[in-house]
Symmetry: C2
Subunit: 266 residues, 2 copies
DNA sequence: CTACTTGGTCCACTTTATGGATCGAAAGCA
DNA sequence: TGCTTTCGATCCATAAAGTGGACCAAGTAG
């Protein structure tokens, strides 16, 4: 519903309106899941004329920003957008943008804060910030990779993916996960994902390293795709139920802050 | 010079021409280096009217696809493009797209083929394909990270970056590189980069693992930014000067093929 | 077989973008 | 210091481009 409204805050409606409309459609395609966007749905959601919408979709296709599935006729993001995004990525890196949040969390909690991103079927630790508590749980170093689902940050990433991608990752990793703990299996991961989605955050209660717990919260971009995850790890004694809730609250706060900073440009 | 020509092959010039013009400008911005694009340069290169160009740049800015440096007034890629690219990246992954080339190279050469991409100041091994030769050099596993410049693929990536980014990476890694071999230093890396750029491919002649050599070739996207690197590693006996040239030729062929497949959509 | 939905196309109408002219500021030159 | 050039930015009458109601074809449901 609030699809056109948030675009209306431009200073002056001067110039190039068709370009803005095309971008509105592109953003709508970006928000879609793997099924893609149908023409009629775009028409309905944007309240544009069908012919206009179709012509704009053609223009986006012509530029390679989107592509149409020949069978389902639905539209998805195209390769050109990926290539342009790669060109842009040298100027924007997630780690730098999240660093302030990591520092604040380490300061507030005294625990160790991790930033993880997805890379294929793995989670990669991009940054780690150590708090002031004398007992720290440094189970993960910067650069370390783990199968998606193994560890709090990794599980937060996994559970935030789309259903088919979750299944794909679990299948792909099923032989590797037991290296981290004999309890891991494809079925356990599916269960953990379900719990995580219901609970709203991921919890690793010592399956990998005994005596230690960790919670993780995903960070979404404005198209509601997971971009990264923040997690806090601590020894059991620091992670009693009530404190766990507090820590999750702080994590959520910072994730929201990061998401907001991404929405507000950067 | 051939800037508008390659866009003129569309079936019918129907519809949305301003959008296409805006995209042409966006692509031009994407091709620029860190200095960014000046208005007059865009006007000259695209042979568009200055007012039109400026208005389109404003439109691109309004959508967050580009951003203007307040001091130099130059235009660079914006955060929105990065975010959209991330949304697109779940559908396109470099590894899958390069897999056929890896298989062909392993088949043709019998040696081990590596695919590396850049991640921050590291090179990450994304894929490895083993050939049929009984002696293989598996110095790098999938997922392994190395400082940029350490190893053939990694060096190919480093040397293909822009000058300022090369320097930045070398500085950032100067304390780590000696872990791989005592010969490494910031100065040696600078020298290796120079040689690589002059030679046209990277060469690792056993600095890390004695008795083994490797060559690497970068893969560029259509905006002439490095996206990945292919490399071949083999024992000295398999890498005599003349064979080395042959292997580099094969690498170049596959890199060109991949680059072409990216240009031709996907 | 009919009614409905969906993707796609056409073309007269009119809203939109265009670009030559112009301005202010800054850089370059004398 | 003053003159000239370059550059980013804006204006507005003109010309061109996008618009959208109507229509078509191909499913799909009843």
């Amino acid at each position: 519903m609030p699809n056109k409204a948030d675009r209306a805050l431009e200073p002056s409606p001067s110039g190039t309106q068709t370009f803005d409309r095309a971008m509105t459609i592109l953003r709508l395609v970006a928000e879609q899941d793997a099924a893609g966007l149908r023409l009629v749905d775009a028409v309905r959601q944007l309240q544009l004329n069908k012919a206009t919408t179709h012509r704009l979709l053609l223009a986006l296709m012509r530029e390679g920003l989107i592509a149409q599935d020949p069978d389902t006729k639905t539209y998805r993001l195209g390769f050109e957008l990926f290539a342009l995004g790669m060109a842009a990525s040298r100027r924007f890196n997630i780690k730098d943008m999240c660093e302030p949040s990591l520092l604040r969390l380490a300061e507030q909690t005294g625990e160790t804060i991790y930033l993880s991103v997805r890379s294929g079927h793995d989670a990669v630790c991009l940054a780690r910030e150590t708090g002031s508590n004398p007992i720290q749980t440094l189970t993960l170093a910067v650069g370390d990779r783990r199968p998606l689902g193994v560890g709090a940050g990794s599980l937060a990433l996994l559970a935030a993916l789309e259903a088919d991608q979750i299944e794909q990752a679990i299948i792909a990793n099923q032989d590797r996960v037991q290296r981290y703990s004999p309890v891991f299996s494809a079925d356990l991961l599916r269960q953990l994902v379900t719990e995580t989605r219901r609970r709203g955050y991921s919890l690793n209660d010592g399956a990998i390293t005994a005596g230690m717990k960790a919670v993780g919260v995903p960070i979404f971009n404005r198209y509601r795709h997971v971009e990264a995850a923040l997690s806090i790890a601590a020894v059991d004694a620091h992670m009693k139920p009530d404190r766990q809730e507090v820590l999750v609250g702080l994590l959520r706060e910072e994730c929201a802050r990061i998401e907001k900073s991404w929405s507000a440009n950067a």
